[in-house]
Amino acid sequence: MIQLMIGRKLDLSRREQAAGSLGEVALQVEGLSCGDLYQDVSFEVREGEVLGFYGLVGAGRTEIAETLFGLRRPTAGTIRLGAEELNHIASPATAIAHGISLVPESRKEQGLVLGMNCRDNMTLPQVGDLTSGPFVSDGAEIAIFDQYRDTLQIKTPSWRQAVGNLSGGNQQKIVIGKWLAMRPRILIVDEPTRGIDVGSKAEIHNLIRKLAGQGYAVIVISSEMPEVLHVSDRIVAMYHGRVMRTFTADEVTEDSLVAAISGIDQGRAA
Amino acid sequence: MDKKMKALIAGSTAVMCLALAGGVSAKTIKIGITQNNVGVDSYQTTYEKAFIAAAKADPNVSTVVLDAGGDVARQIAQIQDLIQQHVDAIIVWPTNGKAVVPAVKKAHDAGIPVVITNSNIAKQGMPYIAAFSGPNNIKQGEEAADLMCKALNGKGQIVQISGKPGYTTAIQREKGFEVQLAKKCPGVKIMATQPGDWNREKSQRVMEDFLVKYPKIDGVYAADDNMGVGALNAALAAHRAKDIKFVGATNFAVGYEAMAKGEYYGSVYQSPVEDAKNALKTAVEVVEGKKVPKMNYFPTPPIDQQNMKNFSKPVF
């Protein structure tokens, strides 16, 4: 029945190629809680791995991402980044310093300054480093923009274009480019393809796989089952602020995934 | 304790003590005052201090000192509040001579005598007040016109910098000056009038524009010395001060000094201390049932470079 709902079969063939090439544990979360939002969340991500977070809206996935990015203060638990163990991450600036990047859920509200041009948006997190003397270096900025425009195939007449005038897909690519340009160790993408056209969707999916292939630790949060199944190596299923089960690529089935995120097999979660 | 309180601003807190003490002994006279806008210039502040000091010197008097902050509506509210407190007399420094009439009538109807201070109430309000105490602003305008006429030997072209538009003192001084000049000194022409808002910097800016517009200016009349000195500053900067006679009103310390230096021709001397004492005395006499004249003007003589030795330097 679920197969009918989704309308296509699972494609797990691609997974084998990724297996075995995993690197160090980039991020390990232990018993992380944040008030009523989520409780006792534990997981780890390795370099070269895509970890999917699947669940219904309100399951606490975005809030976990925001906590890892220093936007929320957890009430319990630890966050281990490489060798370093932290109780919390103080601010997005600290998160960035630790090599974490977050492509947020809402690109218009959280991802972009719509009135600002493409280049300035893309270099915003690192503008403090792109300087010659006290001034922003035009050349360094344009170089970064050109690089990611080509890599991500962003369609814009010029970097001077205000991002508000771009299509949804290109806007999203600017946000992704902005965070790739930070060369993070851990890239978190929250609903990376919401509200963008099919072509761009596929491009972004391929990109995520490619990034993992290059050794990034990637966390993908999505409410679309095909997406999460397509890009992830492992999937964390959440329900009501709790991790119900973590699936590996081999064991995941649509039935079990749906069961996990709707709280049906609560017994197994404990 | 008392010393520390004095150190506090304007000693108003001390007055509160007095007011409390007043509650204890029943025989004291309780007088409420609502001032126009303390702090807008030194005159009003000095007035307030002198008033408080004078009240303190008289053991039979306790006071309630309020400030309308230049807002007519707030002044009316304050008069209502004073009626509410059943004071023995209310002294009003009108923010506007016409607008306070009904409130004054209300106090009058409640049996509380009202003394107007500094600038007078409109004639419609005269039946409801016990007395007026203060300078004669129209007369001051006239005195300034006479000074100007003397300074220019009856011939020349001048500019006028008036007070803040819409305020009684500004209007009366302007009127007194213009009428008297036209009558007594037809040879002196007013080329232009602009408001300086009782603000020295604004007046300086206005004068700078006048200096550009008129290649020849023989005299400047400013509705107070604060603005007069602003105009003088502008003329000094343009190196034209020597050709211009400056006449002001309400002699300020800066005006007095400029006069001593010979840069400023003259002004009208008006002491806020005198003003305050006069108001309190009038109010006390009214409460005590003495006969007082309705119009209690205190003298405001003209002051110029010749006779300034006879006056002490203003404290504000």
Partner: protein, 350 residues
């Protein structure tokens, strides 16, 4: 090249507004768009030039060097303040406390001049003014309270502080002719009045800071979209705090010019200046929503206001006519500005 990247990034929030009515009057609209493209960048210049020409026709003294210098000198006081306000507004906030802060600082610098000497007076005043700016910055930046109300409250509170400090009295400098303090308001540097030099210098410095430094970029981003700025790792608290410190510094500089020019101060000397400064900022095309605007256009806004006042006075109009004209000018200039940016004259609001 120099200013392109900021101006280009200042695209209007037009994308957020519903678009409609395209097709009809297409021809007229394209033409308007072409003119608009030019005006969007230079509209305020055009308006300014028209004014100057208009006044020059009717008053032969208007364009004299003497008059221009005199207007600029007087406008420098509000001008420097307006520069600081521009930074705050670009950062997405308002500062209505600058007027009473100016009164405070002027009273303080003039009062302390005779007590502790000009140098120390300037130092103490600067510190005290920055302190007030820091209070604004803490309340708006760190406590995240609404800037309009905070600075409105500060307007009242600082007014009271000034009166408490001075006891309500005017303050004056005794030896006006001998103190070196006179250079700021009355002096000349290479035949140009010092206030103009200071204003120009402040404008250049702030323009460079806003257009070419990472800090400037962060201010634009914070004003443009506060949430996105935080999500980009910008420490919003510090940025907003800093904008208020800049604003306070500008006020302190204005106060020094004002105190030196007048050689005295009243407690209400800056009353109403906050709105004049804000009007200049708005005339310069800085959006009250934040994230857009430029320093040098604020300079034009200041000049327009200064020359209107001067021009109407030279033409012999009553003061209240100046108010009526300013009413029309503010609305027309801002309308012209946004009409050019959105490419159509009338608003798309249904």
């Amino acid at each position: 090249m120099a200013e392109t990247h900021t101006t280009a990034s200042l695209a209007p929030a037009a994308t957020e507004r519903p678009r409609g009515g395209q097709g009809e009057n297409a021809m007229a609209e394209t033409r308007l768009k072409q003119i608009g493209g030019l005006l969007a960048r230079q509209g305020i210049f055009v308006a300014f030039a028209l004014f100057m020409i208009g006044f020059a026709i009717f008053s032969d003294r208007f364009l004299s060097v003497e008059n221009i210098m005199s207007v600029l000198r007087a406008a420098a006081i509000i001008g420097v303040m307006a520069l600081g306000v521009t930074v705050v507004v670009i950062g997405g906030n308002l500062d209505l406390s600058v007027g009473s802060m100016l009164s405070f600082s002027t009273v303080m610098v003039v009062d302390l001049h005779d007590k502790i000497g000009p140098g120390a007076a300037i130092g103490v005043t600067l510190v005290a003014t920055l302190g007030l700016g820091a209070v604004n910055g803490l309340l708006v930046g760190v406590a995240k309270l609404n800037s309009l109300i905070v600075t409105l409250g500060m307007l009242s509170a600082i007014q009271g502080l000034t009166l408490i400090y001075s006891g309500g009295k005017n303050v004056d400098i005794a030896n006006q002719d001998t103190t070196w303090f006179k250079i700021f308001g009355r002096g000349y540097i290479a035949d140009i009045p010092t206030p103009i030099v200071i204003f120009a210098l402040a404008a250049v410095v702030l323009h460079v800071v806003m257009a070419y430094t990472p800090f400037g970029r962060r201010v634009y981003a914070t004003g443009g979209n506060q949430t996105a700025a935080v999500f980009s790792g910008i420490r919003r608290n510090r940025v907003v705090f800093a904008t208020y410190l800049i604003s306070a510094t500008c006020v302190a500089i204005s106060a020094i010019i004002l105190g030196s020019r007048v050689m005295g101060s009243q407690n209400n000397v800056g009353q109403g200046y906050e709105l004049q400064a804000l009007a200049a900022v708005i005339l310069g095309g800085t959006s009250l929503l934040g994230g857009a605007g430029t320093i040098w256009k604020t300079v034009i806004g200041v000049l327009i206001l200064g020359f209107i006042q001067n021009g109407l006075l030279l033409l012999g109009f009553e003061y209240y006519v100046q108010w009526l004209v300013t009413w029309a000018v503010i609305i027309l200039a801002v309308w012209l500005d946004i009409a050019a940016k959105r490419g159509r004259l009338w608003s798309p609001i249904a």
